[in-house]
């Protein structure tokens, strides 16, 4: 606990990370670190390598080199199922809801990896819609409901570092707002969050720091209080 509560505890440190899909070289030497309790975003255009960075952390890319330390432990040679056991919860792009499973089955599918995860009661009070739809097949859910479910199921596992990939994509503003509230709540609980986000206006008020990616590299690191002064640089990279 003493280690966990220290503010500067380094939960994730990536250095010199290269990732490949077959012959294509996607990530070209990523360096970043995330401290416990921080909310950090990966910004950039489509194809900049943000999703691949999350997948590389999960060891879900073809090949990777460099170093990824999670809680001070080197994970380059870890199988994907061991990485989750280090307390990492991954919410993939397009949500990854299993259509052949109902809501309850989807929710309880990921094994509990650490103690201190949310109970079903707490989850259902956070996402009341899911309770109403608990017996529905995954394929019958709306986009918003799927996204709630994708979030909920990694909160139950007790993961203390969440990798969230484009969670607001294609969702109605009211749902996006709800997700923002959820992230604030999770942050206040001390969870570490790495957020890949297209919607800068969603991410800006939530994040402690931003990494801007382009062509598989991190080109800029901007902390929350530098946002205003670096707005024009950011606009250039994001092509707003």
């Amino acid at each position: 606990m003493s280690q966990a509560s220290r503010k500067d505890y380094e939960q994730l440190r990536i250095s010199g990370l290269h990732a490949f899909y077959g012959e294509s070289h996607i990530l070209h030497g990523i360096d970043m670190e995330v401290k416990r309790g921080e909310l950090v975003t990966l910004l950039g255009r489509n194809g900049a390598g943000r999703s691949t960075t999350l997948k590389a952390i999960m060891n879900m890319v073809g090949r990777r080199t460099g170093s990824i330390m999670i809680n001070g432990e080197e994970t380059m040679s870890c199988a994907p199922h061991h990485i989750a056991r280090l307390g990492v919860g991954y919410c993939p792009e397009h949500r990854g809801i299993f259509s052949g499973l109902n809501v309850m089955e989807n929710l309880t599918l990921p094994p509990v990896v650490r103690s201190g995860g949310m109970g079903l009661e707490e989850i259902f009070s956070m996402f009341p819609n899911l309770y109403e739809r608990r017996t529905s097949q995954g394929s019958k859910l709306s986009g918003g409901e799927q996204q709630m479910l994708a979030m909920a199921r990694i909160l139950r596992t007790g993961a203390n570092m969440l990798l969230l990939d484009e969670i607001t994509e294609g969702l109605a503003p009211v749902i996006v707002e709800k997700l923002g509230e959820v992230l604030v709540k999770l942050k206040s609980k001390g969870l570490t969050i790495v957020l890949v986000e297209q919607n800068f206006h969603f991410a800006a008020p939530l994040a402690d720091r931003h990494y801007v990616m382009e062509h598989g590299q991190i080109v800029e690191e901007i902390s929350a209080d530098e946002l205003e002064s670096k707005q024009s640089t950011l606009d250039k990279y994001l092509g707003v």
Partner: protein
């Protein structure tokens, strides 16, 4: 003698019974194929060989060690299942992520090798396996004679099929299997040991085939090619039922056995082809199979 549509009831029900028996074997075998295809995306051409191994191991264990039927019913599937896990671990895993055709050829090759080796040792003339004493005799019903063993095969096949369906559709372990069928990489990202799940699933599918083999030993000719004869029909059953559908494999298996049996009554020459005719019709009308999901 009573008749239905000009056919003596004894003949009709006799063939119907044979159809249900054959259907039970089709169901057990196609079930295993469906389970394996679902998670591994492998078309297991070694399935017939595993069925044959189940029967051969039963006979050999009896001849060499005097192992009785009841022990064989558990031991033979376990032995063959372990062999299946070894095949998955040492061979199939090496070609994971490659095109379907590789695993198809690999399992086909494994089947040919097993079949060839056993043919070399035991020949193809068929081995004897005595019916356990407890199954001698049968029920004398008004309309037909039902041998005890055949009744046993139908019951136990139905129980095993239903049990498998229940585990896959209604339990946590089954949820892992169903989820793995959709996205095994994400499952692994959640901390589930997917490689282990894959090995055990292949082993389980193979066990089902071997279990069918043990059931077959007392009533069918046990020889090294018995598996390749039945496998083609079983593949047709899986195609008709729809790839990857568990309930579909079971129901279609039984149904095809019955259709085959009834064809034997009305037009015996066509009985071995009727399943393939059904397959053609189903593929024309519903390409994803009777119970398959539309792509």
């Amino acid at each position: 003698m009573t008749e239905i549509l000009g056919i003596p009831t004894a003949v009709l029900f006799g063939q119907l019974l044979l159809g249900i028996i054959n259907g039970s074997f089709y169901a057990l075998l196609s079930l295993g194929l469906a389970v394996i295809f679902g998670l591994l995306k492998i078309i297991n051409f070694a399935h017939g060989a595993m069925y044959m191994l189940g029967a051969m191991v039963t006979v050999i264990m009896f001849d060499v060690m005097g192992v009785n039927y009841w022990v064989a019913l558990l031991a033979a599937p376990l032995v063959v299942g372990c062999f299946g896990v070894a095949i998955e671990y040492f061979l199939l895993r090496r070609i994971g992520g490659q095109d379907h055709i590789y695993s198809l050829l690999l399992t086909f090759g494994v089947a040919l090798m097993i079949q060839g080796i056993l043919t070399n040792i035991y020949g193809v003339s068929g081995m004897r396996y005595a019916m356990p004493d407890v199954f001698k005799g049968g029920f004398r019903l008004d309309f037909m004679y039902l041998p005890y063993y055949r009744a046993w095969v139908i019951c136990v096949a139905l129980v095993v099929c239903f049990g498998t369906w229940f585990v896959i559709e209604k339990t946590k372990l089954g949820a892992y299997l169903r989820a793995g069928t959709e996205d095994s990489q994400l499952m692994q990202g959640f901390g589930i040991n997917v490689p282990l799940l894959v090995s055990l699933t292949y082993g389980f599918g193979v066990m089902l085939a071997a279990f069918a083999g043990v059931l077959a030993a007392p009533i069918y000719s046990v020889n090294p090619v018995m598996g390749s004869n039945i496998l083609i029909v079983v593949f047709a059953v899986v195609v008709i039922g729809g790839m990857g559908s568990i309930a579909g494999a079971i129901i279609t298996g039984l149904l095809m056995g019955v259709i085959e049996g009834l064809t034997k009554v009305v037009y015996p020459e066509f009985s071995s082809a009727v399943i393939f005719l059904v397959m053609v019709i189903v593929l024309l009308i519903r390409p994803s199979g009777l119970f398959g999901k539309e792509a």
